[in-house]
């Protein structure tokens, strides 16, 4: 391709090598007579050069023909195809004879052709760009002889051929790449669709869960109301009759009415427990915070449970450190927890005592409820604070209760920024520790309200 159309004058290689004089010329360009030896040397030099050129061209031809890419050599001015390789013919569905001598535009669809035309000036500018940048790669479209089109990436560079500039374009069919890109885009789109539809599904599920939650709350409110309405009349009339407002009662009638009253109150406690737990779980329970004397709360609780302890012959003992002072918490909820813990202790203790102590320990005010009751086995301890877990079915029958008390206590303690822990062993009694944040130091000595 680089071979000039006319053979070079003998000795041109030498001119190139030396850059000074030819064998038949003096350094000033005057002709001179060559010796036979000089002539022989010049001839063999020329022969070697021609040999090298032939080899170079053969190498290029081999590369040109064996390239997996289609290669066109075109005239940048006329766009005439000067040469092309076999791969170029196959890609485009033409024979070499059909292509060589025609415009490269025969391979371009109408709209691309319009762009590549650009007039002689446009083409000259393009050649200039090629000269500056070395290689220019563009993506375009080729149309085969059968009319089908395919995407194409062409890398172009300038070559000097027979003393003039030609363009060598190396074409690669990028249908596969395009397909992959499109596939990728489709997958991406599909993924987006999947994400969108999953998001919509989750929104539906969330709405459903929220609706279920509202239903649960409404159900609890309704149940609470429905159960309290008949209880209102049971507890109310029992109270009225026990006060003798309905007329005088015999001793036996009073005793039996007392049983009705106590059962009705137990039923009410159960309803309140269920309601409390569901309020806690629905996040509907709010706790307040105000200073109050813990000693009062403990004493109130012991007073309330004294009759029950007395019936079982248990001693109820309070050991409250007078320096305990006031705590800042929700008094009603603290009392609820204490009442629960102490009534549990009384319930599960047959003989001995229930002791309630309260002390400050570091950041905590700790109230301990210690009993001499049946105790709790190690394997039962972890379940102790779960809802609806009275420890064994035998116990459930022996001791009435919802099995909600301790789970409510623990949740309440947590809401009050405190905690409840337990130490116990079967037969060795149990100690429940109820910790509340101590807050500020005990400024007053807890005499307030005693």
């Amino acid at each position: 391709m680089t071979e000039p159309s006319t053979p070079p004058p003998e000795g041109s290689a030498k001119v190139a090598a030396r850059g000074t004089a030819s064998p038949g010329l003096t350094e000033t360009g005057q002709l001179r007579i060559l010796t036979a030896r000089e002539i022989e040397a010049a001839r063999s030099e020329t022969a070697r050069t021609q040999e090298a050129l032939k080899e170079s061209e053969a190498r290029f031809r081999t590369l040109f023909e064996s390239s997996p890419d289609g290669i066109f050599i075109t005239d940048p001015e006329t766009l005439e195809i000067l040469d092309c390789n076999t791969q170029a013919c196959e890609m485009n569905g033409y024979s070499r004879e059909e292509l060589v001598g025609r415009s490269i535009n025969v391979l371009h669809p109408e709209e691309v052709r319009a762009q590549t035309k650009g007039g002689p000036e446009g083409r000259a500018r393009f050649v200039e760009q090629l000269r500056q940048r070395g290689v220019i790669t563009i993506e375009s479209v080729h149309v085969r002889k059968d009319g089908t089109a395919f995407p194409m990436e062409t890398s172009m560079c300038l070559l000097e051929l027979g003393g003039r500039d030609v363009v060598m374009g190396i074409d690669r069919d990028i249908s596969e790449r395009r397909r992959a890109e499109e596939e990728l885009a489709r997958h991406r789109e599909h993924l987006e669709e999947l994400v969108a539809s999953r998001t919509a599904e989750l929104a539906v599920e969330r709405d459903r869960a929220e609706a279920a939650d509202r239903l649960k709350s409404a159900f609890l409110a309704t149940m609470s109301h429905e159960l309290r309405t008949p209880l209102n009349s049971i507890i109310g009339f029992t109270g009225v009759l026990l006060k003798g407002l309905g007329g005088p009662l015999t001793e036996e009638q009073s005793r039996q009415l007392g049983m009705v009253k106590s059962s009705a109150q137990h039923l009410l406690a159960l309803i309140n427990d269920v309601l409390d737990l569901s309020k806690i779980e629905a996040g509907q329970l709010r706790v307040s915070s105000a200073p109050f004397a813990l000693t009062e709360a403990v004493e109130g609780c012991l007073r309330a449970l004294a009759p029950a302890a007395e019936r079982k012959g248990l001693s109820l003992v309070a050991e409250v450190d007078p320096a305990i002072g006031t705590v800042r918490s929700d008094r009603r909820r603290v009392e609820q927890v204490l009442l629960n813990l102490v009534s549990n202790a009384v319930k599960f203790t047959e003989t001995g005592s229930v002791t309630v102590s309260a002390v400050r320990e570091g950041p905590w005010v700790v109230t301990r409820v210690r009993d001499t009751g049946i105790g709790i086995s190690a394997e039962d301890l972890p379940n102790l604070f779960r809802p609806f877990q009275q420890l064994e079915s035998g116990l459930a029958r022996r001791f009435e209760g919802t099995g909600l008390g301790l789970s409510i206590c623990r949740r309440l303690a947590e809401m009050l920024q405190g905690e409840i822990t337990v130490e116990s062993a079967p037969g060795a009694g149990s100690t429940f520790s109820f910790r509340l944040p101590a807050g500020e130091a005990p400024a007053d000595i807890g005499t307030e309200g005693r």
Binding site: S217, L220, A221, S224, H225, R228, T229, P230, L231, N232, S233, I234, I235, G236, F237, G239, V240, K243, L245, A264, L268, N272, L275, K279, Q284, L285, R286
Partner: protein
């Protein structure tokens, strides 16, 4: 003439209980089983106290309280909600609707009277 109480309650037994307690203390009880009849009674009579159940058939207690509050004759008359609603915000909702006080069911017969009567000015108690 004083000591008239309007009891709005749809449950017969509960009405009987409340009536029994109030009449025992010398109150004159007028009963209404639902909202519309309560409004009718309130417009035509004179009362020193209204006890209002919240869960009523048809028009609910909150709506009844709001309507009662529009009746000029009930100006300054305590309306006490007596309700077994015990969820968070129930008390607030009752007070917002115009109730003066709130008593939770089941009522305690030992303290019920004192509780509701405490809302009534002493000079108009029976």
């Amino acid at each position: 003439m004083s000591g008239n109480v309007l009891v709005v309650e749809d449950n017969e037994q509960n009405l009987y209980l409340v009536r029994f307690l109030l009449e025992g203390a010398g109150w004159h009880v007028v009963a209404a089983p639902d909202g519309p009849r309560a409004l009718e009674e309130a417009r035509s009579g004179r009362f020193e106290l209204v006890l209002l159940d919240i869960q009523l058939p048809g028009m609910d207690g909150h709506a009844v309280a709001r309507e009662l509050r529009r009746i000029p004759a009930l100006d300054g008359v305590p309306i006490v909600a007596v309700t077994s609603y015990a969820m968070l915000g129930d008390r607030e909702r009752c007070l917002e609707a115009g109730c003066t006080g709130y008593v939770e069911k089941p009522i305690n017969p030992d303290t019920f009277l004192d509780e509701v009567v405490s809302y009534v000015r002493p000079e108009v108690r029976p």
